[in-house]
């Protein structure tokens, strides 16, 4: 609108003022023409041009795309959404006859003679390897402790939950294993599951055997480390992974300097009943500078001349293993677990082992029982030697029945001569895990009827990293006689004949 005012302004002012300046008329006219000519261009033209210029400016400065309007929900809409949302049920519905729902009920003590579902059987299922569960000395020691300390400790180790018994047990375990220090946990499962994340953190690398037990898997998950699985007991596969890592390290040496590496193996695998090749592992350890953590829940009290486990079995220097962990719920027949090794390693758990720091300590009577069990093991290492005879016997029997005779196509045995817990698997799977489990369960029931207590090895199918095939676990203990074992083996054979055909 300004330019319209312009024209009228020039109209009035210039015509009078120019003359007073004394300019000649032709020049005056030219100036007037010039000044008044351009404003005389059609006003709508100027308006359009102006709009166009503004439009271009706007286009230049505005973004090329249109932002979507943020669709903030109104309160009403939110209420509707809340009304509408239906969560899944807390737990999925389950059929009443789910195979893992109805447990076998044990009345009375789960020792050599066990009453399962009202039937007295010989126990081939509990890990009571050395028979300490009904050992009178162990019981008396526990009772003495009970009279003095009661049952619970009412506190974690840090807050007045450390009893003299705990210190004694730690001391005794360290001495028994010939290590500098031991630390006890109040639950076997929590032991290795707490120990792993105490050392291995985010960014560290762990090499694990595929057959590693569930508590190792949980420890690894809690550690958030980088996990590399190698094939079960396959040292070539492990070395391949280690070499790969070495190449990776050369590419990024700065990172390699702070990346801790661990090999985690079991002494005697609970899932496969075979022993890890420890001497080879130790060689790899020094070659590739990787630390070894060894889980010995099955082998502690079982392998080695004195029951010190797989290190003694192979004659490996125990100091070459960075950390040994085991539970006291199998051979020791109490509750809890321990880690042992050099103080440099073990002491760290006293502030970093979650299951150690944040859980109530082990009831003193259970610790006392473990001490007495250690006493017996130390006094009488022959126990373990005699026992070898049993599982060699068992192994021979099972072999004779299931591998050498004509039914070898039906069943196979997993395990080594010195494994006290054997797995009986189907030689040929039916194709469906459920059917396999049902068949094996029928064998177990058949044997239960005939006073042999066996159990299926139980797994959480969906949780296991590498789910082992279904199997029946047969546990040999020192309390079983040769007749018991013979009876069990023939009973299993009969069952297999009757059920698998």
């Amino acid at each position: 609108m300004l330019f319209i005012d312009y024209s009228s302004a020039f109209n009035t002012i210039i015509s009078t003022k120019l003359r007073t300046l004394g300019l000649n008329t032709s020049i005056c006219n030219w100036i007037l023409d010039f000044l008044m000519g351009s404003p005389q261009a059609p006003a709508y033209h100027l308006v359009l041009e102006g709009i166009l210029i503004l439009w271009i400016i706007r286009l230049l400065f505005s973004k090329t795309y249109k932002l979507q309007e943020r669709s903030d929900l109104t309160e009403k809409e939110k209420e509707d959404l809340i009304e509408e949302w239906q969560p899944e049920p807390l737990v999925p519905p389950m059929s009443k006859d789910h195979p893992s729902l109805n447990y076998d009920i044990v009345t009375g003590p789960p020792s050599h003679k066990i009453i399962v579902n009202g039937k007295e059987c010989i126990n081939f299922a509990s890990f009571n390897f050395l028979g300490f569960l009904d050992n009178e000395r162990v019981k008396q020691k526990a009772l003495t402790s009970l009279r003095r300390y009661g049952v619970g400790t009412c506190g974690p180790r840090g807050f007045y939950g450390t009893f003299d018994v705990h210190l004694e047990l730690e001391d005794r375990l360290a001495k028994f294993m010939k290590t500098e220090e031991a630390i006890i946990y109040s639950y076997g499962f929590a032991t290795i599951a707490s120990a792993i994340p105490a050392y291995s953190k985010r960014g560290d690398i762990v090499f694990v055997d595929e057959a590693a037990c569930f508590s190792i898997q949980k420890g690894l998950q809690a550690s958030r480390s980088f996990i590399k699985y190698f094939k079960h007991n396959d040292m070539e596969d492990l070395e391949r992974l280690l070499k790969e890592q070495e190449i990776e390290d050369q590419r990024n040496p700065r990172k390699a300097r702070v990346t801790r590496r661990f090999i985690i193996v079991e002494g005697l695998y609970i899932n496969t009943a075979d022993v890890c090749p420890l001497p080879d592992l130790v060689k790899l350890k020094y070659k590739y500078k990787v630390r070894i953590f060894l889980e010995e829940s099955m082998s502690f009290g079982v392998l080695g001349e004195h029951g010190r486990g797989v290190t003694e079995h192979f004659g490996v220097n125990i100091d070459d293993i960075d950390l040994i962990s085991a539970n006291m719920e199998n051979a020791v027949a109490s509750i809890g677990g321990f880690c042992c090794g050099r103080s440099f390693v073990i002491d760290h758990q006293r502030l970093s082992g979650q299951g150690y720091c944040f859980s109530a300590s082990l009831p003193p009577m259970l610790a006392a029982a473990a001490i007495e069990a250690l006493n017996i093991m130390e006094e009488d290492p022959v126990v373990i030697l005699i026992w070898f005879r049993f599982f060699i016997f068992m192994y021979d029997l099972v072999n004779k029945y299931f591998q050498i005779d004509s039914y070898s196509a039906v069943k196979s045995v997993i395990g080594e001569v010195y494994a006290p817990a054997l797995h009986l698997q189907l030689e040929r799977s039916s194709g469906s895990r459920d059917t396999d489990v049902r068949m094996l369960r029928s064998i177990v029931d058949y044997c239960l009827e005939r006073q042999i207590a066996l159990t299926l090895a139980r797994y959480l199918d969906k949780e296991e990293r590498f789910l082992p095939p279904p199997s029946i676990r047969v546990v040999v203990t020192i309390e079983q006689t040769e007749e018991d074992i013979e009876k069990a083996a023939s009973c299993i054979r009969e069952a297999a004949l009757a059920i698998l055909k």
């Binding site: 809340i82 969560p87 899944e88 807390l90 999925p92 789910h98 893992s100 729902l101 447990y103 003590p109 789960p110 299922a125 509990s126 009571n128 050992n135 019981k139 526990a142 009772l143 009279r147 003095r148 300390y149 009661g150 049952v151 619970g152 009412c154 506190g155 840090g158 007045y160 450390t162 009893f163 639950y187 076997g188 499962f189 929590a190 508590s215 949980k218 390699a256 702070v258 801790r260 500078k289 990787v290 719920e329 027949a333 109490s334 509750i335 050099r342 103080s343 440099f344 502030l351 979650q354 299951g355 859980s359 109530a360 009831p363 259970l366 159990t455 299926l456 139980r458 797994y459 949780e463």
Partner: protein, 563 residues
């Protein structure tokens, strides 16, 4: 009237108003010493507030009780400054001593790597252990004190000496007898060794031995386990329950069986490590809400239901709220009626960890649901431990039959972990029967009442004396704020000298400025013991005035009505 009483009065007035979520409350007090009373109040407020959950979620039923007051006072500003300063000085000295160790002027006690493994990647980063090496080592005589008697109302502490400033300890063989035990979670006094009480436990030991040597699903499902499970269910008034061998593992091994990927866990910021570990192992997404703060929780619930999962925007499969009954470091009680209302409104599930509250609160010891008069069926997952009130070990999960059946087949613990020790099971059976009166006596109920009385008495004594204590009036866990790290350890040592065993906690277990001592009350404590503790507490404070210069101001600020 002391400043404190005025403060209480204000609080009483506030109590008459409707409950509203957490808020900051500033009360101007005329008292001489209480000038800086900036109180974070947990629950009660003298100003009406918008969007109160209590309103939006409907009024609680008449049967329900309101939450008792809880107080969380902030320290005066200079206390916080001094605390940081204290940590600063200690840290500087730590660096200085590390330097001395590095140049070999100070003897190094730290355990070392083997020579053969010197060229391995170090097992610990140096800075990770700075705190342990330079701070914790100086004061670690205050923790892990070994005892050699029953953890009852009094215990015998084994005397330790350290020739090298706590790097190593040796036992002198002497004991400090009859130390009053304010540290153990022996709420109902079931940590006892009376022959008559323990007869059944002894019989069970004789009969069964100690362990089980198998898992529940394999060959470790004893009839007494099932008996205990039925008893727990009837004690709690729910359909079914399952027991586990370790309290910590009850959380960490069962949460993964309930939630997984695509599920959301809303977790209180002060939840116990076992809950956090369980949540982490489950693979679910975890959001944390402010401690006991209903607004924070509701905001997250709305966000969760309205926006769904981040990135994919799919609706959450389910939302699980995880809270504890009594928080053991704060002494606070969960605001359960509000949470139940919220959970119903937003269709979330509720996981209640009653580790410290079962047996310890509620008119007949049935935990926080009873304390608030709530129906146990409103809680989806009731978890608790047997370590504390029952003087045993282990934990339980109780609730609807479907829930427990699911756990029986899917719990990690049922499949992979050893079953509960028979004598421990018997101890729980015995204690629970006693509380329920099934043993034909009223001993159990008397203990529950005694604990409530002790709690009231001890809390009111300390409040009269003007200490800043945290937590709910009903809570048998009584934290006293000490703030300064140096003060905390001096307090613990001085109390032990006077034959009182207390638990002290500081950073990193608490916020850096909120180091505290914690008293756990027990039904077994006598009034004389509690009197002795509270007066000694007073003298310890007074004693320190004359000795450490730095503490004079602090003591004034912490115990305003003392001087």
């Amino acid at each position: 009237m002391t400043a404190y009483h005025q403060f209480r009065k204000t609080e009483d007035m506030a109590r008459t108003t409707a409950p509203v979520p957490n808020g900051k409350l500033n009360i101007q007090l005329n008292g001489n010493n209480f000038k800086n009373a900036n109180c974070k109040k947990n629950g009660y407020h003298n100003k009406a507030q918008k969007n109160s959950t209590a309103h939006s979620a409907g009024p609680p039923s008449s049967r329900q009780r309101f939450q008792r007051p809880e107080s969380f006072e902030n320290p005066p500003m200079y206390v916080a400054v001094m605390t940081y300063l204290g940590f600063g000085i200690v840290t500087l000295f730590g660096y200085f001593r590390d330097f001395l160790r590095a140049v070999g002027l100070e003897k190094c006690h730290i355990a070392r790597e083997r020579e053969e493994q010197k060229d391995f990647v170090p097992l610990y980063q140096d800075f990770e252990n700075f705190y342990t090496r330079n701070l914790y080592m100086r004061v670690r005589d205050n923790w892990n004190r070994p005892i050699c008697s029953l953890p009852g109302p009094v215990f015998d502490v084994m005397e330790r000496v350290s020739p090298d400033y706590n790097w190593t300890f040796s036992l002198t063989g002497k004991t400090i007898d009859d130390v009053i035990n304010m540290g153990s979670y022996n709420y109902l006094g079931f940590a006892e060794n009376d022959g008559d009480f323990l007869k059944t436990v002894a019989d069970r030991t004789q009969q069964y031995g100690l362990g089980v040597c198998s898992t529940r699903q394999e060959m470790g499902n004893l009839a007494i386990h099932e008996e205990l499970e039925q008893l727990v269910a009837s004690f709690l008034g729910v359909e079914s329950s399952m027991i586990f061998g370790m309290g910590f593992a009850t959380n960490s091994m069962n949460i993964p069986a309930l939630v997984g990927k695509g599920c959301l866990i809303l977790s209180d910021e002060l939840n116990h490590t076992s809950l956090i570990l369980g949540a982490r192992l489950s693979g679910a997404t975890i959001w944390v809400f402010k401690h006991n703060n209903m607004q924070s929780l509701e905001r997250l619930l709305r966000e969760a239901v309205c926006s769904g999962q981040p990135r994919t925007h799919r609706p959450w499969r389910k939302v699980l709220i995880m809270v504890e009954g009594i928080y053991s470091m704060e002494g606070s009680v969960v605001r359960l009626p509000d949470i139940v209302a919220l959970k119903k409104k937003y269709k979330a599930y509720l996981y209640l960890d009653e580790a410290h509250s079962i047996g310890a609160v509620g008119p007949t010891g049935r935990g926080v649901t009873e304390l608030f008069g709530l129906d146990p069926s409103d809680i989806d997952v009731m978890m608790g431990t047997f370590t504390k009130s029952f003087g045993a070990a282990g934990g339980y999960i109780a609730g609807k039959k479907e829930l427990v059946d699911h756990l029986r087949s899917h719990s990690h613990s049922a499949v992979y972990a050893s079953a509960m020790s028979p004598p421990v099971t018997e101890q729980i059976l015995r204690a629970m029967k006693c509380i329920m009166g099934l043993d034909g006596t009223t001993v159990g109920q008397a203990r529950v009442h005694q604990l409530a009385e002790n709690t009231r008495y001890f809390r009111s004594r300390l409040q009269e004396m003007g200490f800043i204590i945290y937590g709910n009036d009903d809570s048998p866990v009584v934290p006293i704020l000490l703030y300064m790290p140096g003060k905390v350890v001096a307090f613990s040592r001085a109390m032990l000298k006077r034959k009182i065993g207390v638990v002290v906690v500081g950073f990193p277990a608490t916020p850096i400025t909120e180091a505290r001592a914690r008293f756990c009350l027990s039904a077994a404590h006598t009034k004389a013991m509690l009197d002795q503790v509270s007066t000694t507490r007073k003298h310890t404070q007074g004693h320190k005035h004359t000795h450490t210069h730095r503490d004079i101001h602090l003591s004034l600020s912490i115990s305003p009505s003392l001087n």
